[in-house]
């Protein structure tokens, strides 16, 4: 009987399509990635149905973390000179006696979460070392010693004549009184419009907002 010889198949598979897809995904992630800016604390923002974009420059960001500590930072990618103006103003109005080198260091400091008394100590440190310093947060709760008022007024002066947005980035677990104190500090500077940083939530279907949006789409 003639035996049927099965052709021996190679175990090698052609990996080319696989590699193609892998690199496609890789390039997608490389382009889509936006690195998180360094932050002193991890913040979990609450969700909201609002979908307006976050301004990235010309903004003041006030961070409230889960332990109700308040941080202040100025976002000015285009013009770092604004940061110098802020710290110079703080130095002058609060007479902190900061040296020029210390003030120059403020550019590298992402967010300040200290009372004015500890600011000199913070700015004396190398930016990499700053994270090790304990951060009690900017005092806000007592209206007489609400130091955030000074920070905001300094930022307002630095950005005079330009649009300046006030971002409030609060942790979902932070308590309301701190938020209220932040608002009151802004109010004392005659600022009444704020942007609360949130993550995007879906609009519940069937709600008034949902119906309104659909109507809007139809009309267009």
């Amino acid at each position: 009987m003639p035996s049927v010889k099965l052709p021996r198949k190679s175990t090698d598979t052609d990996m080319t399509p696989f590699v193609d897809v892998a690199f496609l995904i890789l390039s997608f992630f490389m382009l889509a990635t936006k690195f998180k800016p360094p932050e002193p604390v991890e913040i979990t923002t609450p969700g909201s149905v609002n979908s307006s974009k976050l301004p990235e420059s010309n903004a003041v960001m006030i961070i409230v973390d889960s332990a109700n500590r308040v941080f202040f930072s100025v976002l000015s990618d285009k013009d770092p000179g604004k940061l110098d103006a802020v710290i110079q103003d703080i130095n002058a109005t609060r007479s902190l006696n900061l040296s020029n080198a210390e003030m120059a260091n403020y550019r590298q400091t992402f967010a300040v979460g200290l009372p004015f008394g500890n600011l000199k100590q913070l700015l004396n440190l190398d930016p990499k070392e700053q994270a090790k310093l304990p951060v009690p947060g900017i005092p806000v709760l007592d209206s007489a010693t609400n130091e955030l008022v000074w920070w905001i007024s300094a930022a307002k002066k630095a950005f005079a004549g330009e649009t300046l947005k006030y971002l409030i980035k609060g942790d979902a677990k932070s308590k309301y009184p701190t938020f209220e104190a932040v608002i009151s500090a802004l109010k004392r500077n005659d600022e009444f419009k704020y942007n609360l940083v949130t993550a995007l939530d879906d609009i519940p279907s069937g709600s008034e907002m949902d119906k309104y949006n659909q109507k809007n789409i139809k009309e267009q």
């Binding site: 590699v19 890789l26 990635t33 979908s51 677990k173 309301y176 109010k187 949130t198 009309e219």
Partner: protein, 212 residues
Amino acid sequence: MSSIDVAAGESGHKKGPGVKKAKKLSTRVDMTPMVDLGFLLITFFIFTTTMTTPTTLDLNMPKDIKDEKEQTEAKESGVLSIMLGKGDQVYYYEGKLTVDAAGSNFKQTTFKGIRKVIIDKKKEVIGRHVHDETCKKTQDRAKAAKDPDWETACADRDFVVIIKPSEDATYKNTVDILDEMTINRARTYAMVKILKEEVELIKATEASAGIK
């Protein structure tokens, strides 16, 4: 290019007994290390990427007005007061707070339940709406702004929500209730300080319901 081809044609293909044939090398390259590296990078980018783009919720606060005469008045029948308490609890009452022997209108609910309360109250207020001259102006303005809801632009003008977060409310609660205003399209709402008697009522409810 062509010059190179010519040169290769002259010297490259000598045939004869003394010429060794070059070994044909396979054109296949082992791609395994490349794939390894590729996937390593993919995992790296997956972990570092932030997919949830942050958005912002706009909040406009009024200026503090000390003079009572200048403060905005709201019709009592159209007011819904919402208080935020401990443990994601929501308390509310319609109109004026009345606590007496006959009963109280102070009620307790959750964030899930408050939506229905808001919708119902809004419907009730719209049902009582009387059309007048100023109403027409509001409608015209909405029409000019291309608001698809211009017909009802004025019907809910008496509907006012007052939000009063207590000291125990979290920031998430505050954002959630503001969000609820957007979801239910409550046009007029204000965030004000909670009153002492309201705090006491919340404390009493918390104690009896065992909310921590």
